[in-house]
Symmetry: C3
Subunit: 322 residues, 3 copies
């Protein structure tokens, strides 16, 4: 069980921090996915679920959110509770806490380090904040999203969803669509897909929101092929996974300039998808997927959100068991 | 124990949702009150209270509040904790969550449905929001107030308080005073009183804030008599229950136009009340009950607020036991 | 175990409220410190920690914060959880709750008194609010800071930190520096030091922010000597405890008028301190202690913050065991 921790340490991540998808290699990923699967199975068994719900009754975790993200916070907190943990929480650390009085993140972490917590789950507006926290923390830090940086548990749950459906993360055809430039989740998913052989990614977006060069280079280096298009009809017929994203208007300087109309999934354009394909979305969804698509058995985005529970339980269980 | 669930289903409320007082008939109400009484009794017994506090240790509930209502939220959360449940919570879902990014309530519920929760307790600014949530939810929804709509657990605790004191909910003389037009709680209480025979309601208010016709018609149909007056002195001498309410200034377009002075309960005007009468108020109270009334043994509003704990525990216990 | 409760009652504090440092005499303080020490020891023993984490599983506490103080709130909540308690919480009672509708603090407390809670931990902007709450509450009230008034658990943890290091709270030389006029924590610490014989306090500040006369008179009466200076170099050579504080700019009318530059602890000026001295700070720290000081073994402020956990657990354990 400690394998993936040791490997993390080898990758330069101290302790049991979960900071970036880059810290994981295939062996660690498979370990996490297998733990998540085991937890998912146990939660469906009443007796096993009760055992889980008592397992870490003497442990406490803290969700330290400098930026609201109710969905992510509630997922982590439910994960902790289902392992028996106690949860302390702040939803608006930036406005409410001593941060407003000028305290540095490092000081806040140093204080929390003396509260006897088993993990600190941090969400922050600044890229790199989770790493900064981890650099001073003896308590494991889990990055729950830091600005335009990373959100590793989202990437893990995305990959886990694909793995559960296809039984593999290699030799897949993935259409990544929507806001590729600012979309943190697609960038992270690409990083994970690049670890496995034989994947192909089709980027579908407007010229303004194309995938950045760093990810393209990373794909090339790893031997992962890709193409770019602005027409979903060209790529949907031969696809395993559609990973669709929201136009993150809050990250754009001039939101009005972009017409997302052409990038709405509808019952009509998903009709071109193979029967076995799956449609993912990190959510929240605004208007980029028509609600009528929800009924399609290939729409897996709500199940995908639920998979975050198992991934987060797997990570928290590992951390608290060490 | 499952009787009232089955009955709820017959009334067209799917699952174990608690959405409206209208979903309950007398048999169900008596079931809930008897469960609440049993829980109240068990909480006073140390050993039985400990059993309750372990009963649902493997269950989690979520309080999803789009509008702050600290009192109601804390009551539901304490109820959950006293049954051993874990609680995840958001106090300002509207401003903080993905709702701000444009997510629909239905999507939020669909996501939470995959978190393995036993119940979602929703408070919302929009009338009908709880029903909308329930229409897509597989997890039971409890309405903790939706706009000017319903707040069924408040109505249940009001009726429970009367039941506990008089041993019955029929053949009672009830004075309903204050803001009858906008007062959600009085409207709901009238609906419950109309289920039982022989009740009489005296509405005391200004002409501007009189009870609306729909409730009057409902009373008439059920054979519940009522009268209207603007003088408390006329009705207090022959009353069992005084249900007083706050002038909900935040719901008025022109708050300054209303003089609530004549509608303040004082030691003086309650002196006309019979000895066995009780004074209820949904709280918060501003100036419509003089604090000197608090010491009067007939003032039951704080105890009434506490009864919410037993009612909510009864509902949560039922839901989690099914 | 009930000794200190009885003594509290003798000092005129009803019930088991923790409102002010003034309510404690030496005997009670030593009782609390010894309990805190025992809890600290037990938390380090896995088996004993598990026993603690189950001890009060049938109790619930409420953190009722009218003013944000994330650090203090999380410390109390973790303390409760580590004793097995359930926690209900509000971070912004003023803006969110029925307080916004005009409810008095007394009414809020009266309502919460009917929720079956074991303690209410209150933080408020108004001096005296905790006492006001206690005056109507049957449930023990713990003051977690009321305006410029008191923050007794902070004072207790400060004294506990000194006690742990020196084994005593008498015959100590203490330098109290920074914002003495508005600094609630230093004022409270002086009150505790005055209970013990042979202490000497050196006040270091600007003329504008000198210690107020009431504390000086209290020291004099108790036989505690003190001096005043604006030069740290004069007093650091012969000091046991440096208690440094932040310039509370939010409490000043004209923050720009004060130059805190001369009152920054640096590796240079702490080089004059004896080897066995300790440096304390109530935190958050802004720029009044250079981060390079953190590495000095005499810097104890993060450990000090952690000691709050043991003090709060000691108080909550006492209250819940009574």
């Amino acid at each position: 069980m400690l394998d993936f921790i040791i490997l993390m340490a080898q990758n330069g991540v101290s302790n049991m921090d979960v900071l970036s998808v880059d810290q994981f290699d295939i062996k660690q990923l498979e370990k996490i996915f297998s733990l998540a699967e085991s937890i998912e199975r146990r939660l469906k068994d009443k007796k096993a679920a009760k055992e889980l719900a008592q397992k870490h009754f003497d442990k406490q975790i803290c969700t330290l959110f400098y930026e609201p993200s109710t969905r992510t916070r509630l997922s982590f907190e439910t994960a902790g509770l289902k392992l028996g943990m106690g949860v302390v929480s702040t939803e608006n650390a930036a406005g409410f806490s001593s941060a407003a009085k000028g305290e540095t993140l490092e000081d806040t972490i140093n204080v929390l380090n003396n509260y006897g917590l088993s993990a600190i789950i941090i969400r922050h507006t600044e890229t790199g904040a989770a790493g900064k926290a981890a650099s001073v923390s003896k308590v494991p830090i889990i990055n729950a999203g830091d600005g335009t940086g990373e959100h590793p548990t989202q990437a893990l749950l995305d990959a886990y969803t694909i793995k559960k459906h296809f039984g593999r993360l290699d030799n897949l055809k993935v259409v990544a669509g929507g806001d590729l430039k600012y979309g943190r989740t697609i960038r992270s998913l690409c990083r994970l897909l690049a670890l496995y052989p034989g994947n192909h990614v089709s980027f579908v977006s407007t010229p303004e929101l194309q995938m950045a060069d760093d990810i393209k280079q990373l794909l090339q280096k790893s031997g992962t092929t890709y193409d770019e298009t602005d027409d979903v009809n060209k790529v949907f017929a031969d696809t395993d996974v559609v990973y669709w994203t929201r136009l993150q208007k809050e990250r754009l300087e001039n939101p009005g300039s972009i017409d997302s109309g052409g990038f709405t999934l509808t019952a009509d354009n998903i009709s071109k998808l193979p029967k076995e394909a799956i449609i993912l979305h990190p959510l929240p969804r605004v208007d980029e997927i028509d609600p009528e698509v929800d009924k399609d058995p290939r729409a897996k985005y709500f199940e995908q959100a639920g998979n975050g529970l198992y991934i987060r339980m797997a990570l928290l269980d590992q951390i608290a068991s060490s």
